[in-house]
Amino acid sequence: MSKIIREKNKAHGGITAEEKTRMDEHAKLWITRAMRTAPIEPDKIISAIEGIYAAANLKKPRIVIVPSPLVMAFAYGASAAIWYSRKNGKSDATDAATRDATRAATRDATYDATRAATHDAAYAAAYAATDDATYDATHAATYDATRAATRAAKGNAEELAALACRGLAGNFGVECARRWSNVYQGGNMWAGYDCYLTAYRDILGLELREHAAYAHWEQAAIHGGYRVMHEEFCIVSDFPEVLKVDDQNRPHCETGPSHRWRDGWSLYHWHGVKIPAEWIENKKSLDAKTALTWQNIEQRRAALEIVGWNNVLRELKARVIDEHPDPACGSLVEVQLPDLEKPSRFIRAQCGTKREFAIGVPPEIKTVTAAQAWLTGLPESQFEYPSIRT
């Protein structure tokens, strides 16, 4: 191990055991911040965002706090479209108005093993523990909502938000809303990166000129959720009031939404997999046939777990046609699906992560090996079971 160096502008040589212990605690602190459900405090987030704009030599923006990332995205779209049209008299761009001046504040002063070790100890821990529950889920849901904005209104929250946006700024507003992710910053949902940056300062002792500007960014990561930055305005989302996870910090709730913001916008997850709300809110809507034939295989697996494999097999009068002793190879099951004259066949097997899946195979398949060969698109004569499954 190389010599450990700690200077105000340099941190080399890996980390000590004592530093590692402190980094573990540091990661816990940022995980707590990422999982925050207490309401946003306007004075703290407004001060932080004004500081970011000032650090970037931008004029003070109008700052608007909204209840959820969904509202943020569509409010951004309408606002950006209106501002652009006012200034340009046309509507063909939604360029980002500002750049973060602080994000890479410590990069130039850090190197090799120290960076790697700090990354592993702090960033990776906080990232792994929070991103499924916070960033991934929220980003995907907001992205889906704005992508779907051009569909016909169905009366759900996403469609109503799109309708409101269109009412304020027309289709240009909706198109701008679809680009919200070009100008967003993650706030507390990017906690992993801020955990990493602050570990250099708070644990390894770096004192950099850039830390003064970064302090505003850090405060915004503590006191706000997603935000979109525009030269005229900044829209920042409140924290969710409900955020439920399983023992691996994956978003999950068996009895309600995994996430719910204060305007009621809700997301539903089953051990990290986003699922339709009705699967939880109206469990009777999810029957065995729907579960077994749902197109997305991850959601299908979740559906089968929600309904319960035994219930599925009983309801569809299942019988086992062939069974391999290795659960990774699985069993060939025949079921009678509604509206079909002939029975259908499925492979029920574990993947490398020990989760159980059901995969359809043609009805003429008679053995597990023939089914596995068909899944792979190989003749049975050329097929071998993989020795390593991950």
């Binding site: 499924d132 990290g272 997305n296 792979t376 698109g377 097929f383 020795s387 991950t390």
Partner: protein
Amino acid sequence: MKILETLGAQGEIRIFRVDAMPKGVKPLSRENGQLIIGHSETGHHHILEAERVQVFEAETAPEGMRVLYALLESPGELKHLRGHDTHAPHSFEPGVYMFRTDREYDPYAELARRVAD
């Protein structure tokens, strides 16, 4: 082209070592700088990383399937981009490899399609 060894599986991606690059393949373009071996609707792609690698797609494949070949001139790794329930990476020595993404049968549509996750 002959299969030399069935190496393993990473989720729905099956991995084989083969003796040569077959005919009837076209180069696979990178997407956002990545060589995506298995696409995911939710962005949890399976990607191949190596310093020197070319990936090709078979112009014909069984119904519902996508078959890719990689010519690795340096060691490489197949990674799964997901933060939870992650399929562990597979490492490869230089050589020619085949990746087959599993398909499944839809009993209502009566057709084969790629397994989607």
